[in-house]
Chain length 107, copies 2
């Protein structure tokens, strides 16, 4: 559930969202987008949580990979539906991960 | 709930966590850290969601501000408790936000 990313630097897309109350088609589309993202060149991993606020962070090996994913035809169509139907508000931030640190408790 | 951040570039700290089943002191510490972060120079905002996975993203105006916050005495002590007690696993990623886009539905 925590993405196993390589040594920095790499890229992250932070997608912070507030939903409308219209659920129709949302879950299917979200699952399909995650499945499709995983097939893209340069995809490194994804972390996603939702309560009232949703945060999905996807990780990529380059800005080019992010741009290609943005321009994917199916993804573009679903983004249009997102703005029209599922999302009340969102912010999308494209970031360069410069350093990272991990911790795991010994059992 | 979605942070109102300034025009990029600025910085983000993505803190992805898996908790132990020990709740004692956790919520109070998390709230205190959020309150303390807000008082730091260079703090821009925070977004936080938890289900099984937790993702907290804090935003900062510089790497220097992040480093100062990391070295804050109270924050350092609480991080030690976090590793000892509350977190099974975490990943902390320090990022430069290079571009961002917002969407808000017209009412």
């Amino acid at each position: 559930m925590i993405a196993k990313t390589p040594q920095a630097p790499y890229y992250a897309v932070i997608f912070s969202t507030l939903r409308t109350d219209i659920d129709k088609g949302y879950l299917e589309a979200a699952e399909r987008m995650e499945e499709l993202a995983k097939q893209q060149k340069g995809y490194l991993g994804i972390e996603s949580v939702r309560n009232e606020l949703g945060i999905t962070v996807s990780y990529w090996d380059s800005l080019e990979a992010i741009l290609k994913w943005k321009n994917n035809v199916e993804h573009t169509a679903v983004r249009g539906q997102g703005r029209a139907v599922w999302y009340k508000k969102y912010q999308l931030r494209i970031c360069k991960v410069e350093r990272d640190y991990g911790f795991e408790k010994e059992e």
